[in-house]
Symmetry: C2
Subunit: 251 residues, 2 copies
């Protein structure tokens, strides 16, 4: 077994704290959102209903996050031992700490989370965190949103925040498609020479008065950054055309 | 009325295309996710059930996005007139176009969307886009995720993508708390002078052998970047201590 890389360690130190959640389905969906981004510490402060079949159903493959969720009887208890608490808040209000967009807050959280636990705190569905709850956080983080309708679903907000934490932790590798070999300079030049011969044979190009035809083709294929296989396909097409031109000449 | 800024114009040109969505609730939640980020063009390709009360319930404040959603009988039809189509795909596969993380794809989408419509295409819940569907897209975008469980809920994926589009469009302003005036250099120096007098009077500091006490206090308060009101509070505390020390001396 390899030891966890530092980024995975940072994600393991992040607690997602949901305060007074009303709908158990949102707890399940939040657990799923967390686990898709590699977060696993869920703390529920006075949830209205939990455990609940709705929570389990919406957690789908993240049932272990749900099974290991801790229940706390106050936000204070949920934050015990944390080096930093960051509260999510969509609406402007008096707040003594710093207000940061979630992308910047994620940097600070991950920076802190290599040493000890850090909490990301979400309020109740209808009204978010109270001023008293937010005052227990050093940073208020906010997700930029449509001012006409900034009301993200709770699990959707958890998803965006967890995504930013994963990126901040450096886990931004994505899948790649199989790579194709780029064509070399001489392969491409041989293609242009072939094209020039074929177009001349077709009497589409007059070498005495070439106009802008070849430069335009060079511009097009240059922009496309030809791969070797594509050069082969194009030369195959040209060779086939050559056969027809020759047959026509022989007739 | 002000004309729409260029960023709002870009967001208005983005089509979210959901292909063969199974659960109408996900369509509603996706509409809500879109509208929180200012996206409003929703196209549904062969949805299993729509319209549906579940869709309406989960759209909450985004019912207009739902009401204006267009139904298409094929992906081809949904993409008609688009300058660029980007397909979301979580899993590695053969793909002839470019594969980009959603953050980079969002830049390209917004760059293109100032001229014409651009489509962001999401596949069905269980299996995503088919290879044939993805092949109609020039770019495959992917959301970095936990390799053990990369399965974002459909609406959660729409939320993350829409969020990145809003940020790429330059709409990253967030609320700010009321600002407090920073303390000036001389206010802070006066505080240290006062603290030095009081600590001497308390016989906590011996001016003949000051050790590291004052530099440590300077280090602490320097890091905290004192505000004027905080300096006033600290000097108030010192003044109150001064009174007790004097009273003690008079006794």
């Amino acid at each position: 077994m390899n030891p966890d890389p530092p980024s995975a360690l940072a994600l393991a130190h992040i607690r997602v704290v949901l305060v007074r959640t009303t709908h158990p389905g949102n707890i399940g969906a939040a657990a799923r959102a967390m686990w898709t981004m590699g977060l696993r510490q869920l703390i529920l402060v006075m949830p209205e209903r939990f455990p609940d079949p709705d929570a389990t159903a919406l957690a789908t493959g993240a049932t272990e996050v749900l099974a290991r969720a801790r229940i706390a009887s106050s936000l204070h208890e949920a934050l015990a031992g944390c080096a930093l608490a960051v509260g999510l808040s969509a609406r402007p209000r008096a707040f003594a700490g710093r207000v940061l967009p979630i992308r910047e807050a994620a940097q600070e959280i991950v920076g802190c989370a290599t040493e000890g636990d850090v909490a990301l705190v979400f309020g109740t569905e209808m009204s978010g965190l109270s001023n008293t709850e937010l005052a227990q956080c050093a940073i208020a983080a906010t997700i930029p949103a449509n001012p006409e309708y900034p009301s993200l679903n709770l699990a959707a907000a958890v998803q965006v925040a967890a995504y930013e934490l994963r990126i901040a932790a450096g886990e931004h590798r994505v899948w790649t498609a199989p790579q194709f070999r780029q064509a070399t300079f001489d392969e491409i030049e041989a293609l242009y020479a072939h094209a020039s011969r074929t177009l001349t044979a077709l009497r589409f190009l007059n070498p005495a008065q070439p106009k802008r035809l070849l430069p335009r083709l060079r511009r097009l294929f240059g922009r496309a950054k030809l791969e070797r296989e594509e050069v082969n396909i194009l030369r195959g097409i040209l060779a086939r055309v050559d056969q027809f031109v020759e047959r026509d000449r022989d007739r």
